[in-house]
C-alpha cells in the first residue's frame, strides 16, 4: 500500500535479541497484526502507515531462539549460538555486542558468562546485520524500539552511567507518558529511566548504538512479569501483555510521527504519495 522510496521516514522494532524472552517475539507478531487491522478503520494509523515505513524483526536471535525451544534444559538460553574462542563455550550476548561503549561495563570476559560481549564490537552476524541495515539508513529512523523481558520497565539510553542522552528530558517525558498508557490497559506499572538508574549499567546495547546514530527516540521495553513466572510467562498473560505493550509502543511511535509530520505536512505528504501513485497509472 505504501511504496517505500529513498529517504522515507521509518520506525524500527526488534524482538528476541535474547532467546529465552519468548514474550518478545509474541509481541512483535501481535504488533504487526494490530497495525494491519487498525489502519483499515483508524485514520491516524492509516496516516502513520502512509507516512512511515515500519521495520519489524520478530526474532533477531534466530539461532538462540530455536535452541531455547529444543528441550526443557535449553529453555533459559540467552545468547546467540556462535562457538566461543575455545572449544567448550558457546554464545555471545547480542545486547552487549553493539559498537556503543563496547566492553566497558556490565559485561564479563568469561565466554561462559551470559553477558559475554563477544570477541569484539559487532563480532556477531546478528549485530552486524542490524548495524549495516539501520546504519545505512540512519537519517530515516525516527524511533528504535527493542523488546525484551522481564521486569516491566521502559529503559532509555545510555547504559553507561557517565553518559547522558542530549534529549534525556524528552526521552523521560515520552517514556513516562508511554508507561501511563500501559497502566491504563491492565493496571500494570512499568518503571521508566536509564538502565544504570533503574536496573543496572551495561554497554554495547542495540538501543545505545541506535541513539548514537542520532535516532532520537530509542527505548528498551522489558515486558511482564516481575519475577513470579519470569521468562516462562503463562499463556493467559500473552494477550494482556501484548495489549499493554502495544499501547506504550504506539504512544512513542505516534509522538515520533507527529513531531516529524505535523498536521498539514502530514496531509501534504499523504497527498503527494497518492498523486505519485496516480501519476504512475497515468503514464
Amino acid at each position: 500500500m505504501h511504496q517505500p522510496f529513498e529517504g522515507s521516514q521509518a520506525i524500527w522494532m526488534d524482538c528476541g535479541i535474547h532467546a529465552r524472552e519468548w514474550i518478545a517475539p509474541a509481541f512483535c507478531q501481535y504488533f504487526v497484526r494490530q497495525i494491519l487491522q487498525t489502519y483499515k478503520t483508524d485514520a491516524k494509523m492509516e496516516a502513520m502507515m502512509t507516512n512511515m515505513d515500519f521495520y519489524i524483526t520478530p526474532v533477531l536471535n534466530v539461532d538462540g531462539y530455536m535452541f531455547s525451544w529444543k528441550n526443557s534444559s535449553t529453555r533459559l538460553w540467552r545468547k546467540n549460538r556462535s562457538p566461543g574462542p575455545s572449544g567448550d563455550c558457546y554464545g555471545t550476548d547480542l545486547n552487549r555486542n553493539f559498537d556503543a561503549n563496547w566492553g566497558t561495563i556490565g559485561v564479563s570476559s568469561d565466554c561462559n558468562s551470559d553477558i559475554y560481549p563477544g570477541r569484539g564490537p559487532i563480532s556477531e552476524p546478528e549485530a552486524q546485520a542490524v548495524t549495516y541495515f539501520v546504519g545505512s539508513r540512519k537519517e530515516d529512523f525516527l524511533c528504535f524500539l527493542t523488546i525484551h523481558s522481564y521486569g516491566q520497565l521502559l529503559l532509555i539510553p545510555y547504559g553507561h552511567p557517565d553518559f547522558t542522552a542530549s534529549n534525556y528530558n524528552e526521552l523521560m517525558k515520552v517514556g513516562e507518558e508511554a508507561a501511563e498508557a500501559i497502566l491504563k490497559v491492565h493496571g500494570k506499572k512499568y518503571r521508566v529511566g536509564t538502565s544504570p538508574a533503574v536496573l543496572y549499567p551495561n554497554s554495547g546495547s542495540s538501543r545505545d548504538w541506535a541513539r548514537m546514530q542520532d535516532i532520537p527516540l530509542t527505548f528498551t521495553f522489558e515486558l511482564r512479569d516481575n519475577g513470579t513466572y519470569g521468562f516462562e510467562l503463562p499463556q493467559e498473560e500473552i494477550q494482556p501483555t501484548c495489549e499493554e505493550a502495544y499501547s506504550g509502543a504506539l504512544h512513542i511511535i505516534t509522538y515520533a510521527h507527529d513531531k516529524t509530520f505535523n498536521g498539514a505536512a502530514a496531509t501534504a505528504a499523504a497527498l503527494w504519495t497518492t498523486l505519485l501513485a496516480l501519476g504512475v497509472h497515468l503514464m
Binding site: S166, D208, Q235
Partner: protein
Amino acid sequence: MGLRRAIVLVALMEVTWSLNVTTIGPETVSTDASAHPEPAEENTEQKEAAAAEEDVMATGELNPNHYPAQRAAKLVQHYLNARYGSPYKLFGLKEVHSGNAEEVADSGRKYQLEISVHEIISNTKEKCSAEVFFPSGAKQLSPQVQVSACEEILKLDAKSEEQALYQQYKTNKTVRTEERLPDSYGHIDPEMTPFWHLSIVASSFIMLKESTENTLYNVAQVANITQLATENDQLKFDCHVLLHEMVSQEIPQWKLLFTWSPAEGVKVLHTEQLPHVHEFEKRAKPN
C-alpha cells in the same frame, strides 16, 4: 521519469517544504556516525572507577523506582516468603513507595523502606515498613530484614488448605515431578502448584542469604521436586531449583533439602550450589 510526473513532484515539493517539516530532534548533536554520547556534567572523575566497579552507593533519600531501593525491597519479599510462606501463601513485592539508605559505621548499610506487599494467592495487598541491613566485611554474612506495619497480610489464614495437603501427602500420596515448574510454556499442573510455591519458599532462604546490594534474585524455574520419607511429622522434600540473578543474568542452580508442616512452616536442612554446567556443550559420555 516522465516530464508531467516530474512537474507534479516539483509542485508538491514546493508545498511541502514551505510548511517547514522539522527534522529529527530538538537539539541533535553531531551527525558523525561514530559520535560518542555527551558526558554528564558531574561525575567525570568517576569515568575510571565506573569501568571497574559499581558507583559510590546511593545514600540518603532514594528514588523508589531506581535499583538500590528495588533490590533492597526484593529482600523483604524473600524474607516474608522464607518466614511466612507456605503451599498456599506466597508473597510478591508490589511497589516501593519510598526508601532511605545510610552507612552504619564499620558494619554495613541500612535501608528503610515503605513498600506494598502482595499475597499472590488471595490477591491481597498491604503497605509495609521494612528495614534491610547489608553487612560489610569479608565474612559474607547474610543480610538482615525486619518488617513492621503489615500484620494483616501475615495473618491471612490458609490453615485448612494447608492441613488438607499435609494430611494427604503425609500418608496417602507422594510427590515426584515429571515436568519443570513452570514448564517452558509457563504452565503448571494445578496439583503441582502448591509444591511450586513450597519450592519458591525454600529457595527464598537461599536468595535471602546470597543477596547483596549488587544482586537481584528471582526463582526462574523448579527443575524437579521429590518427596522423601516423612520425618518427625514433617513432610520432607528434595528439590532442584534454577534461580535467575538479574545483574549477571546468570542462572545459578541449587539443590535443597527441606521440610514442611502447617505448624512448623518450611525448614531448610541442606543446600548445595551446583556447578555452572552447560549440559549441551559438555557432551561427556552419552547416558
